[in-house]
Subunit: 475 residues, 2 copies
Amino acid sequence: MSGVANARARESFLERARAELGADAVVTERTDLEGYEKGWRYGAGRTWAAVRPRTPDEVSAVLALASELGLRVQPIGANTGLVGASNPDASGEQLVLSLERLNRTIEVDAVDRTVLVDAGVTLSALNEALAPHGLTFPIDLGADPHIGGMIATNCGGARLIRYGDVRANLLGLEVALPDGTLVDALKALRKDNTGLDLRQLCCGTSGAFGVITRAVLRLSGIPQQRAAALVALASGEAALRLLSRLESSAGEVLTAFEAISRNALEATLRHGANLRDPFPSGTPAYAVIVELTSTLPEGVLDLGTLLESTLGELMESEDGEEMLDVLVSGGRDFWEIRHQISESLRHEGHVLALDLSVPRSRLPELSRRATKRLAETHPFVTVCDFGHWGDGGTHFNLVWDPATAPREVDVLTRELQDAIYELCVRELRGSFSAEHGVGPHNRHYYERFVAPELRRLHEALVREVDPERRLGHRE
Amino acid sequence: MSGVANARARESFLERARAELGADAVVTERTDLEGYEKGWRYGAGRTWAAVRPRTPDEVSAVLALASELGLRVQPIGANTGLVGASNPDASGEQLVLSLERLNRTIEVDAVDRTVLVDAGVTLSALNEALAPHGLTFPIDLGADPHIGGMIATNCGGARLIRYGDVRANLLGLEVALPDGTLVDALKALRKDNTGLDLRQLCCGTSGAFGVITRAVLRLSGIPQQRAAALVALASGEAALRLLSRLESSAGEVLTAFEAISRNALEATLRHGANLRDPFPSGTPAYAVIVELTSTLPEGVLDLGTLLESTLGELMESEDGEEMLDVLVSGGRDFWEIRHQISESLRHEGHVLALDLSVPRSRLPELSRRATKRLAETHPFVTVCDFGHWGDGGTHFNLVWDPATAPREVDVLTRELQDAIYELCVRELRGSFSAEHGVGPHNRHYYERFVAPELRRLHEALVREVDPERRLGHRE
């Protein structure tokens, strides 16, 4: 499109969008646009305007108008993503489509244990509305994203072993295709096998095929009780043995199993706020937060007793030697440590946060082999891994002091990603993006590691719904 | 293809398949072929040969060879499907690709709680191999299908409220595309968000995009205890209230909630083997089997006591009036009744078994409105509904005496499907195929009820992997 034609198309868009959606739906002030341009961790670009529809029909109208005028569109939710997928690119061409005002519908069906929800509702707002019904949408995250963004990235979080990922709790979906067509698959059905499933196409594909406007989610009961322990372990292998024992003995009430490596724990104790060292006699190779929850009352099932007796028996068993210490929560919140790790690491230097997963049985091998390899090639880097060992996910954080490092951050980032992703994906059959999805930040590795046949199928779908590639990032 | 060219291609295929896979891999005897031609409930056609590969590479070789020679291929698993999707069509053109010998691999990783399994392994063989590890693949079905077929139809079954469907337990997949290319996505990962997901494309799409050769499945612990009750209820609404109460009070240990309507129960008591009438003082509107299971030992959580006290309290509450009777299992197996319903109904006349689902809160409305409508249009039909009310699925069986019915079975089948599917799908936002998938038997309704945009995306994918439409059914 020529510069003049492009300027005319933009002007026409703004005029018609103001007329159809109201003047306050359109943002063009430079200072107001900046909030859409920069991502939470990665991603930064430029936009010329943002539009903020309030209903699915308005989303549809915006996309149809952009389509008619040949304008590119970049959707954005709560901007909490970690791969730069929701911010405009550097071209300055993209119109931002913000879902922030698509947040009015939260319709609960308590018998069905489902909710119909607008894509722009935040996780916290949804759970606040569900609480009076004794229900919750149980995906547990550090951030507070929009429901639509959670679906587009198929969030996992810290309690996946109990509740599954977003996909497992997604019953229905409404999506606006790039040309504005609204596809209604808003079914509140737990069983429905009628061919290609819109939910599965749009969950975890970063919005490549359309803009999610509404969803039907399956809900869970709010737990009535909770018991937690912090266990000091002599090795990663010992942590896995503890996981196996707990899965056998605590079964369906095991809700979280979060491991924190020695390096990550020490950094957190150095920089975290109001933290007492849980293991003053020596930081273990891994500290594991074990959490049990239940919707059953204590009179029927006493989680505190169950957890104490299970861990007590293990201490006495042959595996006891590798369990160095056990702290059972007497009101102490072990998650306080967990939630301060990321922030604490930033005080130690530059942090490259890799979002990996491997088969659970290979988690210790990943840490050991990566540490050994980096000691040879990048001895100035410290491995500070922690994460969701119960589901095989690990926040594999690499920390170094940029002032004394031999090369620039960008160069090192690429070197380290190359080395660790190769180990994780090719040698251990893991994933280079366990729960953050694919975006400009890791797109290069998508090309490298994802099977060419799958990329071809992805392209075939994009050609079908968006032949001019006007939606989202192009690279 | 001309008749001569076709005959030559077949001959060439047989010769090369015998050379590559061994003579016993190829079946051409008419009597041996008959078993592949007729389906379990629907589906009947004709084939000229069957080939039985033993490994993923052999499946790949068969497809590549068929592709080279321009031959059509129809895959078949254990032939337990209920929509005719696995049998050859009437053209006589299709080569049958049977997975019956692709059943050698069952590799358990006990720490990971996963298994790598060949697509031709039966559900029962898998669970037998898992039992020594204390593990199970918890999809509970009446039939004994292959794992590959279970994935292609995304089976649900009777314990979905506890364990989810096949999709929820599927971690990795290997698929042979129609041209023979093997796509390896055999990851044993609980978290992996790297774009379009092969599992989601191939699960529940009846093998449209390729032949499933291997899978990685997530496993669950075998329950240590089980408690069951049979509850007599005055209405469908009362059954839903019981479901809500149980979800609140039994939470995570509620494993099955199966409703049986009066008509279905009476027919089963008339024709079933060795059944005692559980409610001799009068058959209730609905009888519900409630099952709790747990991997916790009885000393920690006593399911029998929990179930008795929960139901006892409900009997004493304001909802007690609509709970007509409660039988708690003292060794009695209430599933005996449940498992004899389908067979019993066949003694009553012709059975049209519709596999419906609606939002759970609308199950009573479905029964009431369908019964009322049929009483006006088809008064000779009896509604005998039963099924998985906990997940909104219902086997909506319509029974009539063909000897006295005013029209032929085929004509009536179409009339009744039209009427009930319209009510279920359009008026109650339900599904015309809750768990059986789509095949020749219900293909017509796929065209009618599935969004045109989704069908278009399905076609785009088929064009990409199978431009000549050689795999599976064409209609």
